[in-house]
Amino acid sequence: MDEPIIRTRNLTIRFGGHTAVDHVSLDIPNNTFCSIIGPNGAGKTTFFNLISGQLAPSEGKIEFKGQDVTRLPAYKRIRAGMGRTFQITNVFPDLSVLENVRLAVQAKAGVHYQILKHHRRYNRLIEAAQELLESVNLADKAEQQALALSHGDKRKLELALSLALEPDVLLLDEPTAGMAIEEVPAVLELLAKLKAAGNRTILLVEHKIEMVMSLSDMVVVLANGRLLAQGGPQAIMDNELVQAAYLGGTG
């Protein structure tokens, strides 16, 4: 509990001459709901990509549950307890919705190299997948091809995939991006539910600041790749540096 679940030290990545994430040192305590905000181009998604292992940092290190994971490939971080969603919908288009989630459940269950048993004989995997679909209100679309889902439903499926991994840290990259406005409240409700469960850390990147303030225990502000401020939502709202970053520009 005292040990932060994620700890970055001088985390830096450069693309050519551009420093997208610039010496960010951050401790994220266990079981918190933490939002990462900042103006466009602040490096939020890049920061996510560094934590989840999609990008390798130019400098600095990342610890997860006290272990140095800086050079660990993505799939190992996922197995160690991270789960993430993507800004752009990222599912298995030709498979059924249920099969999408079943694959995620299978990954969590550690059924990797079983090559002679039929996958449907793992009843518990299918049941777990169906339960997950119910929790994101997709149960009635279980047999549909993922490709044919509406955008909002794809986002929900994406969320279900990550939840299936039962991650200790859930990285959510703009879960409402591109959603029809009337679909947003359902996602917010789901986030609130996840938070209420209280058994995991949630890291959220979001543009719609107002939306996340009420949910967050902690808010981290990035600007131009640097860590500008961190603290409780109210403190962040009142922080003059933050206001300046948003109002006064950073450029």
């Binding site: 466009n40 181009g41 406005i181 939306m211 109002l247 950073t250 450029g251």
Partner: protein
């Protein structure tokens, strides 16, 4: 009317995104397309450009039909397009990005380049930098500047304020006011403040249909209409929690 869409219908895959879009854009003015997320605003611009070819209806630009034209032909007729995600070429320098849009190297082209660097002084200082190294706001300027260098009689700009800090939005509004003296602009915008600050006319799209169009001043006066179609977007600008 420099641009006229009549009963335009567009499919993307099996999805009927635009079902009945009819709108008119008078020359020399800024027309703002408003509507909720997913209403079909971006697709409308893409259909005009030929990027999402219309399957029905007619699109005419300066009296000639654009239906069936590939995007580069629409561009050559004088339509500039600034997509939602800016699409600045990361591998090219700022200067190369701008030069790429200059189809002919003539005096007029050089003048337009000077004009662009005039209204976006930030770019003038970064000519030799790679596009990929710019900040979000600078990329947006470059994307708009690029469309201007390209001698556009009509400029389609998709959500330029998206994700920009308020100060950047301010700068952008200023630039747009300068631009509209030179070309006709069609702007897709969620930020109602920006939309009403620079727009003269509005078109509201909902579920792939045009539902209302007219003068921006009328829309500003009509709270009812605002709430009906733009409700949340407008409220959000007021800083209230959704």
């Amino acid at each position: 009317m420099i641009l006229r869409l009549t009963h335009v219908s567009t499919f993307i895959g099996q999805f009927h995104i635009l079902q009945d879009i009819s709108l008119e854009v008078p020359a020399g003015e800024v027309t703002v397309i408003l509507g909720r997320n997913g209403a079909g605003k971006t697709t409308t611009l893409r259909s005009i450009m030929g990027l999402a070819p219309a399957t029905g209806g007619t699109i005419s630009f300066m009296g000639e039909s654009l239906n069936g034209l590939p995007p580069y032909a629409a561009a050559r007729r004088g339509i500039g397009y600034v997509p939602e995600d800016q699409a600045v070429f990361a591998v090219l320098t700022v200067e190369e990005n701008l030069r790429l849009a200059m189809l002919r190297r003539d005096r007029a082209g050089n003048e337009r380049l000077r004009f662009v660097l005039d209204i976006f002084p930030d770019l003038a200082q970064k000519l030799k930098q790679k596009g990929g190294s710019l900040s979000g706001g600078q990329k947006q300027m470059l994307a708009i500047g690029r469309a201007l260098v390209h001698d556009s009689r009509l400029l389609l700009i998709d959500e330029p304020s998206k994700g920009l800090a308020p100060i950047m939005v301010e700068k952008l509004a200023g630039a747009l006011r300068q631009i509209k003296d030179h070309t006709t602009v069609v702007l897709v915008e969620q930020n109602f403040n920006l939309a009403s600050a620079v727009g003269e006319r509005y078109v509201i799209i909902d579920d792939g249909h045009t539902v209302q169009q007219g003068l921006m001043s009328d829309l500003q006066a009509d709270q009812n209409l605002q709430r009906r179609y733009l409700g949340i977007a407008a409220a959000r600008e007021g800083g209230k929690v959704v």
